[in-house]
Subunit: 342 residues, 2 copies
DNA sequence: GTTAGCACTCGACCTTAACGAGTGCTAACA
DNA sequence: TGTTAGCACTCGTTAAGGTCGAGTGCTAAC
């Protein structure tokens, strides 16, 4: 037995219906609602075949069928292959960004809001990995006699900052001089590269040793943290709108995964070369999310700097719509934050 | 009929028990568990009186009593009057801050985590109101030929930043010169005051008009936003651990109030002159939170700059513990972020 | 003023029964 | 050979009835 065109059409109808209603789909529903020109008995036979092929599950014998992860996979692959991603959401997305925020952080949190608002799922927006960012300017701003604020401007205007200790004999002018030198030497390099460069620089500038080691310490911290890509969530409580999470225990489980962001970060960092990555149920690799799907896309700051955006919700997800919104949002963020935004 | 010492003792026992168990408290429970030396019948009579006085509610006739908002109010007032706030939590709080983060933002999000972790409720940490912060240093960092990053270091190391447009003829040195002048003129003033001062400055420095108006624009934005005190949440999903929120609808309601932070911000800004503010049920003024209590405390950056921390949970809250943890956390934050931290 | 006793209330929980959506199978049909 | 009508069967859902027990209010005795 093999998957033919009719089986696929029926499977698609079942998935569409289940995504819409969250109710196991029976043969009669398909026969009547989706005008197949086939009786429920025929559908029943096909459904039985589809179950044997692993595309459908049956919660219990007297209920309809629900799509398996394998079915969603097929469905999504089809969606991606056809390139049938609508573009109508682009306008919606743009509309929400009217009052153009200027700070990276604002743009990111706004993006998370818009994503969750448009999709009704939980959204995830990840800033680019710190270690990959290229330094544009580096400046030390005096804070007190003993300390200075290290400001690093990078691609896309993202800013990393930290208070570091400086020798007490550094006034504003001295700090500025160091800043100029450092910008000259480190500009254009990634934070990781800068860490290596600064060691060399340390030899030339004995007087400013303490400052340099402060900067080095910070770069090291950023580097070892794997870049501390920051993850912003939106609409976490949206999950409660779905009947599959009317059980409080399940909801709690989902939300606690969101709160410890590490696992999610790892998942999102593994975004492949594709425009989209769709992880369905067990494909997430996180047991607590085996009934969830995660769809991610990227936005670009420069050639080799990118961030990731995503949407997480039940496997029964409106993949088409989500892909379309993510696509629009990715473009929008690239526009707003990308290198040539001037 | 009036409230006497014995009634109060019984009421206290009822509240303690209900806070612990969330189960309506019966007369027998009090008589046996709390060694009053009184029979259940006597307790029953007293409880009937307490109900008439408005301190107790009865979900239905054959259930025990639960404390009313009025009862919690009495209970909390007693707690505050006695000054019986334990200090044992100070050590716990400090322990969680071992790896001292240096950025304000990190400290704040860590504080939210610690608060929700120690109390098992949802925590709120509000940064100080922007408009009240005093400028320490102000510096422009070049970002591109057309724009610069405005960095403002304020009390407690908080930093406000924004990208502003500058004339194309400003190189790094020119920006630095402007920065020095601005720091000289605006340093020590609040952001609100600075807005007025910069208008005057604008006359003296015609050449740098564009930069100044950029700075002014930013200050204006901060000012008109009411300072955009930022609210950080911790442990939002903790609420699902409480039986009163095992109903998903209620939980959804609670979480959506948290997500639109405005109402909460307003509430937290209204923190009075007291060390603590406790708002019980309807006292919050937010209908969705009529079964919740909000306890807030402050921390200080300088004499007239403070932020607010708080905990929100069911009215059936462990007020004693929460007050103690908040007290410890307030001190800790004042230590970490306060003016004289060097 | 306190307490034992008792009738009463009412939600929680269990059992049972009816219902119906949906299935698998068989036999008839084109 | 594929399709379909028919039918017995399954099993979760819902409603109804019944028991249980925690808790109350009241009364009368101490």
């Amino acid at each position: 037995m093999t998957m033919d065109a009719r089986k696929f059409r029926i499977l698609q109808a079942i998935i569409d219906d289940y995504i819409l209603t969250a109710i196991p789909v029976g043969s009669r529903t398909i026969s009547k609602k989706y005008e197949m020109g086939l009786s429920s008995a025929t559908i029943r036979n096909e459904m039985s075949d589809l179950e044997e092929l692993g595309y459908l599950d049956q919660p219990h014998v007297s209920a309809g069928r629900i799509p398996s992860a394998k079915a969603y996979r097929l469905y999504v692959d089809q969606l991606l292959k056809n390139g049938s991603i609508r573009t109508g959401d682009a306008a919606d997305v743009r509309a929400y960004f009217t009052n153009r925020a200027q700070q990276m952080e604002d743009v990111i949190s706004r993006a998370a809001q818009v994503l969750s608002g448009l999709t009704h799922y939980t959204s995830l927006v990840m800033s680019p990995k710190g270690a990959e960012l290229r330094i544009r300017t580096l400046q030390l701003v005096p804070v007190s006699s003993q300390s200075a604020l290290l400001v690093i401007v990078t691609d896309g205007g993202i800013m990393r900052d930290s208070v570091i200790r400086v020798g007490s004999d550094m006034d504003a002018d001295a700090l500025y001089a160091v800043s100029r030198t450092l910008t000259e030497r480190l500009g254009g390099h990634t934070l990781s590269e800068a860490l290596a460069l600064i060691k060399e620089t340390e030899r030339d500038m004995r007087a400013e040793r303490q400052v340099l080691s402060g900067v080095a310490e910070f770069l090291d911290a950023v580097d070892s943290e794997g870049g501390k890509a920051k993850l912003t969530l939106g609409g976490a409580s949206n999950i409660l709108n779905f009947p599959e999470y009317s059980d409080v225990e399940k909801a709690k489980c989902f939300l606690s995964v969101l709160e410890t962001k590490e696992k999610l970060l790892k998942l999102m960092e593994n975004h492949g070369e594709m425009a989209f990555t769709v992880r369905i149920g067990p494909e997430t690799g996180i047991p607590e999310l085996e009934d969830c799907s995660l769809v991610t896309a990227t936005y670009r700051l420069s050639d080799n700097t990118h961030g990731t955006i995503g949407v997480i919700g039940p496997t029964r997800m409106q993949y088409g719509r989500v892909l379309s919104v993510l696509s629009a949002m990715g473009k929008q963020l690239t526009d707003l934050l990308g290198q040539d935004k001037e």
